[in-house]
Symmetry: C2
Subunit: 283 residues, 2 copies
Amino acid sequence: MNIGIVGLGLIGGTIAKSLKNKHYITGYDISKDTIDYALENNIIQKAYNNLNDFFNDNDIIFLCLYPKSMINFIFRNKDIFPKYSIIIEFSGIKKSVISEIESINLDNVDIIYAHPIAGSEKVGIKHSNEYIFDKANFVITPVETNKKGNIDLAISLAKEMGFKNVSLITPSDHDDIIAYTSQLTHVLSLSLVNSLSSTLDTSKFIGDSYRDLTRISMINEKLWPELFIKNKAALLNKIESFESELKAFKGAITAEDYKKLEEMMVKSTTIRSKIAKGDKNDS
Amino acid sequence: MNIGIVGLGLIGGTIAKSLKNKHYITGYDISKDTIDYALENNIIQKAYNNLNDFFNDNDIIFLCLYPKSMINFIFRNKDIFPKYSIIIEFSGIKKSVISEIESINLDNVDIIYAHPIAGSEKVGIKHSNEYIFDKANFVITPVETNKKGNIDLAISLAKEMGFKNVSLITPSDHDDIIAYTSQLTHVLSLSLVNSLSSTLDTSKFIGDSYRDLTRISMINEKLWPELFIKNKAALLNKIESFESELKAFKGAITAEDYKKLEEMMVKSTTIRSKIAKGDKNDS
């Protein structure tokens, strides 16, 4: 197949690298440096300046842009998509994205809403790497207008890219669980780092726990505010549930309640071990 | 040297494995299974039942017990430590431990208070592994009665075990920074896992961020309540600073304040990158 990728950043580059042995990969990006790098390193076979040609030459288009840019891209180009185009978009939130795109009223263009739950704290094509997708989770949130054959195609491409679990859930369920597994997780890591108050050289007093919990606090500040705000209700809800748990810990520590703390630890160990069992990517 | 290890768990076993090529290692443990395993796997060269002989035969004793057991162990054996014994204790909190041990009034026994900032969510000698200490941080909190030569010996043993940075700080500074880098980190991971409310199979919707932030929620519930409670004031203080940061995030998300969120993200990226620079163990 001819596969066109719009946005050759970390994720777009990783798609190209993980599919280029089986397909003809082309790319479109507003940065000339990125395009040059992608061509020089054989990450894509061809680059386009003209979007008409790009759309016409490809069987499938992947959109790997930040949500707002992605919606603008579709709006600006709505009249030049060829009939029966298949577009797979990869943004990290779904409900608001889908509602904005559906209001554009595209004819004969089938947009598959997908989310690769994989990434890196590093940005840009230079850090793209097919291992990022290896055995990772992939989610599709089908909408009524999606053709079954196109969903199946997205699933098989996800498998080709190395993803292990492909789940089909509603946009609402997606946003709810991602608010917890991804967004809350990032908010906690950021808050942990930003609450540092010691004047000692922290690097000399950390172990793997701090290393692990704070790696994602090195974050792409151009992307994440949008993800948080566009999923505001679900995220605030998750933050509040977390706050209640934290309050319970504080209470047990204040009361020096060994038994209660032990119970809370047995609970977390049980939940986390069960998740690890279903998650073969885990060590 | 003859080195005796009391408590052959994850840490005691790791000490043995990381020093056995250079020293004669012996062990004492209340579990017969642990002793059998340590001998069968050549982790120690000799095991003792009689503590008098154990103390007399060794040049240095490492105590790798939970804080309360460690203090009890010293109290019970205060009369049989040979004169000029050197003991290195490895508990994760210092102020309360030191004050309890100093009240025992040991004669001619030099206890070095140290903390290897390394570990695993797994427990027991079977998971001990010299890589746990490799390039990790090591902290000593000297007290007035410590002989300089003995502190130097502890430093050189730490280097032999594979630790990279050895820092000497006050017990109070230790408890303050550890409340942040280790204890708060664990409280957050536990609270994150325990606040899970989704009925979906979470394992299908997680990425590395959730994996990393929750690994340590599989926690040794026999050890950690003690560490939290014995460092209560410092830990509660760190939890409260964290809560303020989290509240600031909630405020910025609620207000849809892109600029503020971006600033908070630049701040966390800057702090964390600086820590990573000083921490050569980081990837």
